[in-house]
């Protein structure tokens, strides 16, 4: 064998669109990955990392063209016919996609999906193929493999499906694995499991891996080298082990510092100490703006086969309080009832039982009338996770804000226009953005608009449901800074619902940890993160990628956090 690298990309250029509308998405990217080596390609959205992956496997969308050379060992795959390329894709390159659920045919069983390539392309006997698939599922940590093979994708959680996806790639025994944000849609604890498996199997089989991610720390933990990508070029290449010390490019440092730095020691800095009130979060209810006691939501779901109902407990006895102008984080994984909780607080969902007090006065718990919802809206406003679906794409920013003002105030149209301009500026946007439609705004700008819409009601607290999770890290930092400023200047309290501990640590004073609808721990953020009392909190903290962190398999305990049927919404 020669010493040619397992994967070599030379001067890759990708152009989207034709003629006038043409845009260079990738502008001259080159790299080598040796057998057994892992390269992390890190960048924000729009940096061209996904297009790089798609060019390598030759699956570019229509109207996108590429030039450059892609070599697999000695084979130049750029000049291959479509038929030959298909062969390469199955045999020599495997791809783990971001969202396994949309990449596996929902009508076919997991077993069918796994063995298809072996049976149809390699002509392996179906029985043999199935046995190999079963063995591999065990390898990737799926214990009841024979049952899983007969199940369909909807019966598996996201974490399990991603393992199936990894197994399907390994089954073909490729030389190169491409992983495109394989754990971005997963909870951090599940992410750790899946990354541990991918990392372990890759080393065991001596595979070359191209790992694409927006998460520098995660890529650093599982790769040998990191390539930082921006605007279609690789701006810097670093050894993963000395990532933080050897970064030279300003963009790399920006990217590193955009994420709140993670350290669990209780190092209370001067600014931290100034912000935190000595009162515990469970302070007497008379001081609290919002006081929640034993809140519970049970959904009745029809049983699949039999008659009758099953009770699905979304939130099981949540209690906490939010002081006037305070900042409280509710932390938990998907399926822990965070979103249901948020919707109950703002009155979009009616609780099954329990009590919500605003300023010490209990609020009505049933289905709210329009007037009651409006009243609640003046106290609590919600900001949603996805700024793409939370804004009406047909309305301009101005008309959207104006609409809200009309609901809550009796301002004249001229006064409304001035207030809209004020709101737009308050969230750090130039006032001409009032004329813009959501379509022409970036994700971060949209989220600012969503915040402005919430502020239009002059609420006393914002309920932020994973409000920065969908944003790029540098944008995330800006929006967090905005929230801090709003809290300081307007005195608006923040109820920050998140799964992201580093962000929570930066933004909030108090924290409530939820697990399967139950509050398992609460207290000051710094105390809880430094010395968690609950094993689950510890588990969450351990799964945060950081300097010197390695993903580890945590066995059945890690698995059991995702029961098969409680999938992420």
């Amino acid at each position: 064998m020669t010493t040619a690298p397992a994967l070599r990309v030379e001067d890759l250029r990708v152009t989207a669109g034709h003629d006038r509308g043409a845009r260079d998405v990738v502008r001259g990217v080159s790299f080598d990955i040796a057998t057994g080596e892992a390269l992390g390609l890190v960048g924000e959205s729009g940096s061209g990392k996904s297009m790089t992956i798609r060019s390598i496997i030759g699956l570019l969308p229509p109207a996108v063209t590429m030039t450059g050379v892609v070599r697999l060992g000695d084979l130049d795959v750029t000049g291959l016919t479509e038929a030959a390329m298909r062969r390469v894709r199955g045999d020599r390159i495997g791809v783990v996609f971001q969202d396994p659920r949309s990449h596996i045919n929902p009508l076919r069983t997991v077993g069918d999906f796994l063995v298809e390539q072996l049976v149809t392309v390699r002509r392996v006997h179906p029985g043999d193929a199935m046995r190999r698939a079963e063995a591999l599922l065990l390898d990737v940590g799926i214990s009841d493999a024979s049952r899983r093979l007969r199940q369909r994708p909807y019966e598996l959680s996201g974490g399990l499906l991603q393992r199936v996806m990894i197994a399907s790639v390994l089954l073909a025994e490729p030389d190169v694995v491409l992983a495109d944000e394989p754990t971005t849609a997963l909870d951090t604890t599940i992410q750790e499991e899946v990354m541990a498996i991918l990392d372990e199997e890759r080393r065991k089989r001596d595979l070359a891996m191209l790992f694409v991610s927006h998460d520098l720390d995660l890529a650093g933990a599982v790769c040998d080298h990191i390539a930082v990508m921006k605007d279609g070029v690789i701006v810097e290449r670093l050894p993963a082990s000395a990532m933080r010390t050897s970064a030279r490019e300003p963009y790399t440092t920006t990217l590193m510092n955009a994420r709140p730095h993670w350290h669990t020691e209780a190092t209370v800095t001067a600014t931290d100490a100034g912000q935190h009130s000595p009162a515990a979060p469970s302070s007497p209810p008379d001081e609290a703006l919002l006081d929640v006691h034993d809140l519970r939501k049970v959904y009745r779901v029809r049983k699949a086969a039999a008659r009758g109902h099953d009770d699905l407990v979304a939130v099981d006895s949540a209690s906490f309080s939010l002081p006037e102008g305070g900042s409280l984080a509710i932390v938990g994984e998907s399926g822990s009832g965070k979103t249901t909780l948020a919707r109950m607080l703002v009155g979009l969902t009616s609780p099954t039982s329990g009590e919500i007090r605003l300023d010490g006065r209990p609020v009505s718990m049933g289905r709210l009338s329009t007037r009651q919802r409006r009243q609640r809206g003046r106290a609590l406003q919600m900001v949603f996770q996805d700024p793409y679906s939370s804004l009406d794409r047909r309305q301009t920013v101005g008309s959207c804000l104006s609409e809200v003002l009309r609901l809550h105030t009796s301002l004249s149209s001229e006064q409304r226009r001035r207030r809209v301009a004020e709101l737009v500026e308050q969230v750090g946007l130039p006032s001409r953005h009032a004329e813009a439609r959501p379509r022409s705004l970036s994700g971060g700008e949209r989220q600012r608009v969503a915040i402005a819409r919430a502020l239009a009601a002059e609420p006393r607290a914002l309920v932020l449901d994973e409000a920065v999770s969908a944003l790029d890290v540098s944008i995330q930092a800006q929006v967090l800074a905005l929230l801090e400023r709003l809290r300081r200047d307007l005195g608006v309290a923040l109820l920050f619902i998140s799964h992201d501990l580093p962000v929570v640590r930066r933004l909030c004073d108090d924290v409530v940890v939820m697990h399967r609808g139950l509050v398992v721990e609460c207290g000051l953020v710094l105390d809880v993160l430094a010395a968690p009392r609950c094993a689950y909190t510890q588990r969450l903290i351990d799964s945060v990628p950081r300097d010197g962190w390695r993903p580890r398999r945590r066995g059945r305990d890690g698995l059991s956090t995702a029961t098969d049927l409680t999938r992420s919404s």
Binding site: T254, N257, A258, R343, V346, G347, L348, T370, R371, Q372, R373, R374, Q375, R376, G377, Q381, M382, F384, Q385, D386, S389, S390, L391, D392, R393, R394, T396, E403, V404, L407, H408, G428, L429, P430, R432, H433, E435, A436, R437, S440, L441, S442, E445, A450, R453, A454, A456, A457, S474, A477, Q478, A481, L482, E484, R485
Partner: protein
């Protein structure tokens, strides 16, 4: 990144490419869409300016009987010496009047039923959907014949019958759109601000639900034109309104002696139905691609 990162310069907003303009461009960019749009637009123009465009009174006897197409009578004359060209032009008016009014009626009933059914859910949904199904299984053509047999021919009753029986498809489509839109977060945001149900539906949901419904409307209208022409052909059209169906009806007895009598009204029907169908398809394409 510290607080100074807040308020960094933003990339300029691209000049607001008007939504309507881009839809129009979407329709016109495909050859069939362009053809459909042109055809439909031409028919509308002809209908509006019919009296000015038609050289003769469509019911007036203006020349020799059963005269083939010539310089004075572009599309020939019928058995009573009436100008076929003028008849076809005025027929456009009748057909489009019926199609337009039925369209408005269908849009009104369909989007109301669909919106209420989809947004309110529960028993209202059940009741309205059963009602929709009941209307959906009515044989439209047969019902129109029955009504005309009872009350005599007339454009007004034809509009009412067709309008009241053509909405179920549209209602179901609007309902499906509303069902998916009401789960969207911008709707939840409006609700969290305390907007009333009517306001949420009218301001937030319907504007987003209507585009596909309007695309479907084009296809429904094509059917309406066909039904109207068919009724005219079997002699159940309004004898006082010149229509394509009426022209085809009078042509029945002369099929073998005067080919121009059935050909031109038939061609007009074909073009109108084709134009509306192509426009409907192109609209679906143009609006669907931008979600």
């Amino acid at each position: 990144m510290s607080a100074t990162a807040d308020g960094v310069p933003f990339e300029p907003v691209p000049p607001g490419a008007g939504q309507r303009r881009s839809v129009l461009r979407g329709i016109v960019s495909s050859p069939s869409g362009l053809f459909g749009a042109t055809l439909t637009a031409t028919l509308v123009v002809v209908a509006v300016f019919a009296p000015a465009l038609a050289p003769y009174d469509p019911f007036g006897i203006d020349g020799p009987v059963l005269h083939p197409p010539s310089g004075t009578h572009l599309l020939g004359t019928d058995a009573l010496g009436r100008d076929v060209f003028s008849g076809v032009i005025h027929g456009t008016r009748t057909s489009l009047l019926i199609a337009g009014t039925v369209g408005a009626l269908v849009l009104l009933i369909g989007s109301f039923v669909g919106a209420v059914s989809g947004y309110a859910g529960r028993w209202a949904d059940d009741v309205l959907m059963r009602l929709t199904e009941a209307f959906q299984v009515l044989p439209r053509f047969f019902l129109a014949i029955v009504v005309i047999a009872f009350f005599g021919p007339g454009v007004d009753r034809l509009i009412i019958v067709l309008g009241c029986t053509s909405w179920p498809m549209l209602a179901r489509l609007v309902r499906a759109e509303v069902l998916s839109l009401k789960q969207r977060e911008f709707v939840a945001a409006a609700q969290a601000h305390g907007a009333s149900s009517v306001r949420v539906v009218v301001r937030e949901i319907l504007p987003n639900a209507l585009p596909p419904a309007i695309a479907l409307l084009g296809l429904i209208l094509a059917q309406v034109i066909l039904i109207e022409a068919s009724l005219g052909f079997i002699g159940l059209g309004d004898p006082n309104a010149m229509s394509w169906g009426y022209l085809a009806n009078t042509a029945q007895r002369f099929l073998r002696v005067a080919w121009w009598l059935p050909l031109f009204p038939g061609l007009a029907i074909l073009l109108a139905v084709l134009g509306l169908n192509l426009l409907g398809d192109a609209l679906t394409e143009a609006l669907g691609g931008r979600r």
